[in-house]
């Protein structure tokens, strides 16, 4: 009884919260509304990829393909059938989200089948390949607008739906981890042979993971298509797949909390960079020497920190001090090398609009993370109330097998 009450209250809070967010966002400007929607979509994408990559351990790097399937499928249906049917208003969008999810799930099934035979890096390449094939096929369909893109009308402002989808995605993954249904997924991640010997249906688990993950991506794609009103194949290129991958890896493969936080940060970052203005109101430009100086500084700081992590087994406080020292050394190097590099006219004269640095930052985040903390920021840990309680009361909390 208590279980159902909690459940119903949670659902009511989620729906109410999303409605509240929509009405609050109504007063904001277009830029802020767009930001809220994009962050919601990226949270959905990264949590759903986390289900495939982190929880089930199937390394997929073609997630943008499912996003694209959902967007183009529903975009096509809306363009051709919206005027001819009785459902209107926001219910049409809900219907499209379902259709996008189902369509992408079918695509996920098709990609999931080869995953039965492949593991690790081979699987990664195949998912990448599927993504590219889907993109090239879409690019060559006249009905889908080819490489020029497709206009989707009517447009919607689906803030509440976007965040409901994100919350649904989080809830599905969280419940999977908390209940017995999720144990086969974790077992497959840890050891396929052993789990199949224990009676886990490895095939079923993998295909389920692929279908669930891609269904959420497809639903997000449907929302994107109806929010933007215009989609092109380049919206879903390889770089989008890599951005989603960066989010999952940064948060910690397997951690839902990590995925959510990393998605929020990394979806906000490019918009933040684009929002930076110089004195005249144009996009801020930085000199090439500054970028190179930062790169050198990051390299030095990371190598020092790596040395501390691998070679220095002192006290915790001492280690933290040395890591801070490494960071400080990085900052010093940044100013020293910046001063020196400014003398080179080829570098200091080259002005770079700051929003172009976005993908470079993602790339550096990936490399630095792998060098310093390959398990990601949160590793396998999740946010929980007991964890918060422990933080304040310093009482030991019993660990469950799943969270450990």
């Amino acid at each position: 009884m208590k279980f159902w009450i909690t459940r119903l209250i949670s659902i009511a809070v989620a729906i109410g919260g999303c409605m509240l967010l929509q009405s609050l966002a109504g007063r904001m400007n277009d830029y802020q509304q767009r930001l809220i929607i994009l962050i919601g979509l990226y949270v959905t994408l990264s949590v759903s990829l986390n289900l495939i990559n982190g929880i089930t351990g199937q390394f997929s790097i073609g997630h943008a393909a499912f996003y694209q399937v959902g967007a183009y499928l529903t975009g096509y249906i809306t363009v051709n059938y919206f005027a001819k049917q009785p459902v209107h208003g926001v219910w049409w969008l809900v219907l499209m989200v379902l259709v996008g999810g189902i369509g992408a799930a079918v695509a996920g099934l098709i990609v999931g089948l080869p995953s039965l035979r492949l593991r690790g890096d081979y699987l990664a390449i195949v998912t990448l390949g599927f993504g590219e094939i889907i993109r090239i096929i879409v690019q060559n369909q006249k009905a889908l607008g080819g490489s020029y893109g497709m206009n989707v009308a009517p447009k919607y402002q689906p803030i509440a739906l976007v965040w409901l989808l994100a919350i649904l995605c989080i809830a599905v993954c969280r419940n999977l981890l908390k209940t017995a249904h999720g144990l086969p997924f974790l077992a497959v991640r840890e050891d396929e042979v052993a789990s199949s010997a224990m009676g886990v249906n490895v095939t079923g688990v993998k295909v389920t993971a692929f279908m669930l993950g891609s269904a959420f991506a497809g639903a997000a794609g449907a929302l994107l298509a109806h929010f933007e009103g215009f989609i092109t194949p380049t919206t879903f290129g390889m770089d989008v797949s890599f951005i989603i991958l960066t989010m999952v890896v940064l948060g910690g493969t397997g951690s839902i909390t990590g995925s959510v936080i990393a998605a929020t940060l990394l979806a906000y970052l490019p918009e933040y960079l684009r929002g930076l203005k110089d004195a005249s109101g144009a996009t801020l430009q930085v000199s090439g020497s500054l970028v190179v100086a930062w790169m050198i500084a990051v390299a030095i700081a990371v190598s020092l920190m790596r040395w501390v992590i691998t070679h220095h087994h002192g006290q915790k406080l001492q280690r933290v001090g040395m890591l801070v020292g490494a960071l400080f050394a990085g900052v010093v190097v940044r100013y020293l090398s910046g001063f020196l590099l400014d003398k080179i006219p080829a570098l200091s004269g080259r002005l770079i609009p700051i929003d172009q640095v976005r993908m470079v930052i993602f790339a550096i985040v990936l490399i630095v993370l792998m060098l310093l903390r390959p398990q990601g920021i949160f590793a396998h840990h999740e946010f929980s109330w007991s964890w918060l309680k422990r933080l304040f009361t310093r009482q030991p909390v019993p660990q469950t097998a799943v969270s450990a």
Binding site: F59, G120, D121, Y122, A124, I136
Partner: protein
């Protein structure tokens, strides 16, 4: 309907040319694929950044050609020589080796003790860093391309006639020639004798003459076209031939190094068993560096040749598609297997040109992935790879 279209798009007379083009392209893919396959053989790592090393090689060639005075804005281009090309090739190979060593030392070596997925993510990161970081500093808009004048063979080609057009058709075309000339002459004399008229302002008599002349001319042109399309011609540019020759020489050198030198033997030992090789006194780090030097310099050579002889405009994403295709070639031949990479490269080049030949040139980039997926599903070891499937 689709089948009909497929048949209609096919022109068997262009097949030999497409096969030759495929072979040339395939040789380049093979050169890049060797780098993937050797690194995978030694480290079990997909070197995602290999395509970017290739891209940097093309840029090095571009800068060296600038140094020789072949800038796009240069007014007095000097005459190029083969020496220039050789220097460009060497520069690309050396710089690419250095880049390869650097990437291995600072990105891959620290990851060796971690899981393979961690290494793979690092490789993706390095690849993205070179693509997007390079875009900040290297000239890429408008995309520069290496001047044609660097290539001393530019414009030179050799034609081979594989099948002569049928003599009957040629004869017909020749016979139509005097009739057309006669009709045109008649029209000319008429125009001369009537100075007040021109081609667009003719009396009835003139119009008849004009129609006759046009008809005769069209008939002649039609017959000529028919006769010519009956023949099979093969055009091989001297630059392309040089490219193929250099590729063969480089592959020969590689084979020699891998099979008959001490370092090559050590490399094969490391590829066979990393840990045992190090127990046998092989300095594994040196050998890995050696592998990266070999692979990256081959990529540099391939980049210099494509950028110079094919004249493709350079962006920092120049290596993305060839890199992926070469990787597919390596998997197709059996990754880790050196002859397999060459075979796979040639097959990839041929497959791509066959797709173009069938009239689906829009899908030429998709074929690589289709091949990859089919190979992995039905023969995961590749054509020449071991039958043992990799258990990750």
């Amino acid at each position: 309907m689709d089948v009909l279209h497929l048949v209609a798009g096919v022109d068997f007379n262009t097949l030999p040319q497409q096969l030759v083009n495929g072979l040339l392209l395939g040789a380049i893919y093979a050169l890049i694929a060797l780098g993937y396959t050797m690194v995978y053989g030694v480290l079990r790592l997909i070197n995602f950044a290999h395509g970017e090393v290739y891209m940097l090689g093309a840029y090095v060639a571009l800068f060296v050609s600038y140094f020789f005075g072949f800038r796009p804005d240069s007014v007095h281009p000097t005459q190029s020589s083969v020496m220039n090309l050789l220097i460009m090739l060497l520069a690309s190979m050396v710089i690419c080796s250095l880049v390869g060593i650097t990437i291995e030392r600072f990105a891959y070596r620290p990851m060796r003790s971690h899981s393979r997925i961690a290494s793979l993510i690092t490789a993706i990161g390095v690849s993205l860093l070179l693509q997007y970081g390079g875009a900040l500093f290297l000239p890429n808009s408008p995309p520069p391309s290496i001047s044609e004048k660097v290539n001393p063979y530019s414009g030179q080609s050799k034609d081979f006639t594989l099948a002569k057009p049928s003599p009957a058709l040629l004869e017909q075309a020749r016979q139509a020639e005097p009739a057309a000339a006669q009709a045109k002459a008649a029209l000319d004399t008429y125009l001369k004798s009537h100075p007040d008229e021109n081609l667009f302002n003719l009396s009835a008599e003139g119009k008849v003459l004009r129609t006759a002349a046009q008809d005769a001319e069209r008939k002649e042109a039609d017959l000529k076209r028919q006769a010519e399309s009956g023949g099979v011609k093969l055009i091989i540019q001297t630059g392309q031939a040089t490219m193929l020759l250099s590729t063969v020489v480089l592959m020969g050198l590689l084979t020699y190094m891998v099979l008959f030198t001490k370092a090559g033997r050590a490399m094969r030992a490391v590829a066979h068993d990393f840990d045992s090789a190090s127990l046998m006194g092989i300095n594994v780090n040196t050998i890995v560096t050696f592998t990266f030097i070999l692979g990256s310099s081959l990529a540099g050579a391939a980049a210099m040749m494509t950028a110079t002889f094919l004249g493709t405009p350079l962006t920092t994403f120049y290596g993305l598609v060839p890199g992926v295709k070469a990787f597919v070639a390596a998997v197709l031949g059996g990754i880790g297997n050196i002859p397999g990479a060459v075979l796979g490269g040639l097959l990839m080049g041929l497959a791509e040109n066959m797709v173009v030949w069938l009239g689906y040139s829009n899908y030429r980039d998709a074929i690589a992935f289709v091949v990859l997926i089919v190979v992995l599903l039905f023969k995961p070891g590749g054509l020449m790879g071991s039958a043992k499937v990799e258990k990750v």
